[in-house]
């Protein structure tokens, strides 16, 4: 599907699978998982540099920013002020204006604080950031985010790291029908079929971390996710048959004895 590129804010992406780089055993495993997944967008967090032990490797020594789009997030931010501060730091440390904006509402669910999200997005968009917001599966909030200038929205499938899969496919479908920007289903995927389903519903991409990093064999799961996202996208474009209660024979009656 070389002609089926995902375009966000004028940037083209080859892969519709985006992956997070947290929770891996080490940077080598992170690098191998990214390769196995075929992802060309990887998310990273912004944190204090270790100043006492400089022997520790740098993640970007393993993920070439020329080869991958590095998407910094504001993970761990619970206030608008923190999310804005981390976004600015990410831009200062990085190479682009892209930010995956998270403003979290609660430690137990890690659900987004959507009121704070909209407020932070407004501030950052005014400063020239390309804001990709991690949001709830709420169609009204998704529309508001697009109205203020987000070039894509990232609704969750289920709570972060829960592996529950898509909890509200109908809300996701409404979001896909009502907003005219790419939808990246973010968080909650458990296994390959969840990712395939998201794509079959019409998502433009899927972002995941724990489903791969937490699998017994992360590299095999990364590969499984690559095929799942690809298969789901192809099926979506091919158009599924309608569901019917009764059988429809696929062999002709004509010619029977």
């Amino acid at each position: 599907m070389t002609d089926d590129r995902l375009v966000i804010a004028g940037r083209e992406f080859k892969s519709r699978l985006w992956i997070g780089t947290g929770k891996y055993k080490d940077f080598v495993e992170t690098q191998k998982a990214i390769e196995a997944s075929g992802a060309d967008v990887v998310t990273v967090a912004v944190r204090r540099v270790n100043i006492t032990d400089r022997s520790k490797d740098n993640l970007l020594d393993y993920i070439d920013p020329k080869k991958y789009t590095i998407l910094p997030n504001t993970a761990g931010c619970y206030t608008v002020e923190d999310a804005v501060r981390y976004s600015r730091l990410a831009r200062a440390a990085g190479v682009s204006d892209l930010v995956k904006l998270e403003v979290l509402g609660d430690e137990r669910t890690l659900f987004p604080d959507t009121a704070g999200l909209i407020e932070a997005a407004k501030i950052l968009i005014k400063e020239g950031f390309i804001v990709l917001p991690y949001t709830n599966d709420d169609p009204i909030v998704a529309k508001k985010l697009v109205d203020i200038g987000c070039p894509a929205v990232m609704p969750l499938a289920a709570p972060i790291g829960s592996g529950l899969g898509i909890r509200n496919p109908y809300n996701l479908k409404i979001i896909m029908e009502t907003v005219k920007v790419p939808i990246i289903v973010d968080a909650g995927v458990g296994t390959a079929s969840d990712a395939a389903l998201a794509m079959e519903y019409g998502a433009d991409a899927v972002l995941m971390n724990t489903a791969i990093a937490g699998a017994r064999d992360p590299l095999a799961m990364a590969e499984a996710m690559k095929y799942a996202v690809h298969a789901g996208r192809l099926a979506y474009k091919a158009g599924r048959i309608p569901r019917k209660l009764y059988a429809t024979a696929s062999s002709p009656i004509e010619g029977m004895l």
């Binding site: 780089t21 947290g22 992170t30 998310t43 990273v44 990410a90 440390a93 998270e102 724990t210």
Partner: protein
């Protein structure tokens, strides 16, 4: 002129030589400038100007970079 200044780097109290700039601090710590962001007393510095900011007694410096992270992870 005193020989040493007391500053905080990433939350840790440090004694540094007087007259050092932010660029000197990074170099002394063995940190490559191209992949970090530096906040001096809550103000984000332009990377090109690291050499122009001379550290003063009581300064709070934050040096941040990218680490593995996907979606929010509880530490």
């Amino acid at each position: 002129m005193q020989d040493a200044i007391h500053i905080h780097v990433n939350g840790e109290a440090r004694t540094w030589r007087n007259g050092a700039t932010v660029a000197d601090l990074l170099q002394d710590l063995g940190i490559r400038t191209e992949r970090v962001a530096v906040e001096l007393n809550l103000e984000i510095l332009d990377r090109a100007a690291f050499g122009q900011h001379r550290l003063k007694n009581g300064d709070r410096v934050e040096i941040l970079g990218f680490i593995g992270g996907g979606i929010s992870v509880k530490d």
